[in-house]
Amino acid sequence: MSEHAPVSRLEKILTKGYFAVTGELGPPRGADRSVIERKAQHLKGVVDAVNITDCQTAVVRMCSMAVAKILLELGIEPIMQMTCRDRNRIAIQSDLLGAYALGIRNLLALTGDHQSFGNHPQAKGVFDLDSIQLLQIVHKMGEEGVFANGEEIEGGPVRFFLGAAENPFADPFDFRPYRLAKKVKAGAQFIQTQLIYNVPKFAQFMHRVRDLGLDQKVYILAGVGPIKSYGAAKYMATKVPGMDVPEEIVERMRKTPKEQQKEEGIKICVEIIQQVKEIPGVAGVHIMAIEWEEAVPQITEMAGLLPRPQV
């Protein structure tokens, strides 16, 4: 990576060595921007940047780019997510040029959930590229100022602060740190992980990441999130692929009386934040409180993450 000035607040925070905090927002299944404005108000000022998911679980929602632009208008820094499921390399590069022109500077490159999960399973999954190839392309657009075919981009390089996702709990477990290395090699500058509830297992993963020297090359943000209820805990533990929710946490939620479960779920999240903060190599947290954005100010307050630094 060549020397360059940070292109976004998030990049500035991380390069200056602050512990970063990012949030997440799921776009509406409609065209009403007031929904976004309402959710975003909870996140303003308590996180450094906000992820906008890209048709998560292959359900049609307002596109990430449009929501990112709305967030910019509200004075919130967006992290635009882009998957490989719905677009080929032509559309992807075209969208990247557009996003840049609109002022978006953070990008998370993902493979994308398979279309069979969503509400249009009959659709053709594009998958012209995979997430690693996408990282490479975006990296080259910023570093070398060229498109995927080598042609120069008119007007010069288009540089994003580039991120990728990693699931420390997916299989093959042994291979995950190497896959992370591949993403870093392809150009990933920051990583957001899948929700962490099994801190010891995550610590194991981080140990191997440090062995590979990756903590020196990429900023790793640990994924955390509050649990809404005992039912939600059970669901995540049993029905969501790639999630590891230890029995103690499910039990803890179960033992909590129903009216207090939300508070308990927030407490658990705060504890996990405090624990992962202590793991060397963890540069920040990514708080995922989908459909519960109002919990984020409380979580960041209780975890001692406020106020956010001025950069």
């Binding site: 493979t111 190839q133 997916a170």
Partner: protein, 224 residues
């Protein structure tokens, strides 16, 4: 080989409803091996149709025949007389055979009795699985002999994705995660270094992205 599957009986019955005399034409190659359209299956389908039509009070006359391969002119040319004598041909070949028949006998209605599904193999008697997607640029040398285009639900070249769980694909727990298989295979062979290289985006033109494909073998052409 090509694996096909007979269409639902109701659909076939509806297709031949307007006709009184049909040729049920089988193929002796792929669809014989996968038990979908060979001589035996021709006999079974013809018998089923005759019985069903008789129950409806609209008898159907059937000719039954199976050629060596329905996708080669030399095997379908000799049956011209048979084809002439029927209202329609119910082909039990794969899509290629049906089209060859339609091209060789342009005035005759040729109906497909099968759905052509995939290129695959029987991993045990009666169980056929997809193995090849015909992408035109084989990468099996760098994936331990396991195809990520045919066997990965997302055609990843640098997999696995985050949905791989217990060696199974997130789409369906009965599908093996191809990249899990590739990883285990290369690990067992001490060739994990292969996976550290980033595989570049695929050129999809040989896979059909450049339009329908054509291969010419100059050394066996007859016309110069």
């Amino acid at each position: 080989m090509i694996i096909a599957n007979r269409k639902p009986f109701e659909e076939i019955k509806a297709m031949v409803a307007p006709f009184n005399r049909i040729l049920v034409l089988g193929c002796g190659t792929c669809v014989t091996v996968d038990f979908s359209g060979g001589e035996k299956q021709v006999g079974i389908l013809a018998s089923e149709l005759r019985m069903a039509r008789q129950l409806e009070g609209k008898p159907l006359e059937t000719l039954e025949y199976t050629v060596q391969r329905q996708c080669e002119w030399e095997f379908i040319d000799p049956i011209a007389e048979m084809v002439r004598g029927v209202d329609a041909v119910l082909s039990m070949a794969c899509g290629v055979g049906v089209q060859a028949m339609a091209e060789r006998y342009p005035d005759k209605i040729i109906l497909p009795a099968l759905n052509t599904v995939m290129m695959g193999m029987p991993i045990e008697a009666g169980v056929f699985v997809e193995r090849c997607a015909g992408c035109g640029n084989c990468v099996l040398a760098i994936t331990g002999g396991i195809c990520p285009i045919a066997r990965c639900s997302k055609n990843l070249l640098n997999g696995p994705c985050g949905g791989s769980q217990n060696g199974k694909c997130e789409v369906n727990p009965e599908i093996d995660c191809a990249w899990h298989l590739i990883y285990e295979k290369l690990k067992a062979m001490g060739r994990l270094n292969v996976l550290m290289e980033i595989i570049e985006p695929k050129d999809w033109r040989p896979a059909g992205g450049g339009g329908p494909r054509k291969i010419i073998r100059e050394e066996v052409r007859l016309e110069v």
